[in-house]
């Protein structure tokens, strides 16, 4: 699974992207966020309040209830501010 981070999510985690193996018990975006939260201080800060986060799976906006497959591209970011 490919993970991407943007804006302050990227800065707090300190990476633009990373590859992980999807743990067998992680079936939704919400479960993935909970799993990532345990990976260090930056992750903890980012994933402690999902209300401030948005997520896309395979380049499409989804809710945190969306389900995941092993080869998905998952991106976490703040609410968008373009235009």
């Amino acid at each position: 699974m490919n993970l991407l981070y943007f804006a302050w999510v990227r800065q707090k985690i300190g990476k633009t992207e990373e590859r992980i193996e999807l743990p067998v018990n992680v079936a939704s975006v919400r479960a993935l966020a909970e799993y990532l939260r345990g990976r260090g201080a930056g992750y903890e800060e980012v994933f402690s309040d999902l209300a401030r986060l948005r997520v896309a799976v395979n380049q499409e906006h989804v809710s945190f209830d969306a389900s995941l497959a092993a080869n998905d591209e998952v991106a976490f970011f703040p609410p968008v501010t373009g235009g």
Partner: protein, 149 residues
């Protein structure tokens, strides 16, 4: 109708893009455009924009498809800049061609509202030595929400 969609660091030549859209939009009676510029308010020195390459283009294509399902469009141009921009510079240019003005105006406003609230861009603003990420505005969400009524 194939829209022209571009994400670029270079300046946007709105004049040329407007001519180009008119040239390829057949019997369009109406072209509405929107140009967004960086404002200096609150002592802003610069904005730096980043985006999610790949998703940005796919997301904008979805907005155009949705606009086409609502209005009979003859052409559309959407250009968004990334990188560092100072006050006065153009950030975004959207132009829509249709047979009639109501469709052109509404589709142009619709595309702008969705660029603001759905396309994966993020702005960081600089004021003197201080910089911070821009927060999303509830007013933009409301503006986009009115198209779902």
């Amino acid at each position: 109708m194939t829209p022209l969609v571009r994400i670029q660091t270079a300046d946007i030549d709105a004049a040329r893009e407007l001519q180009a859209l008119a040239g390829r939009s057949g019997d369009a009676g109406a072209i509405a455009t929107f140009s967004g510029h960086v404002r200096a308010d609150g002592g802003l020195d610069a904005l730096t924009l980043e985006h999610y390459p790949g998703m940005t283009e796919r997301e904008i294509a979805r907005h155009v498809a949705e606009a086409e399902s609502k209005w009979p469009l003859l052409g559309a141009t959407i250009i968004h800049r990334i990188g560092r921009l100072v006050p006065g510079e153009r950030i975004v240019f959207v132009a829509v061609a249709s047979a009639h003005r109501r469709a052109a105006f509404e589709a142009c406003a619709f595309l702008m509202d969705h660029l603001k609230t759905r396309a994966p861009f993020w702005k960081r603003e600089e004021r003197g030595a201080h910089s911070q990420w821009v927060e999303a505005r509830a007013a933009d969400e409301e503006a986009a929400g009115r198209w779902r009524k």
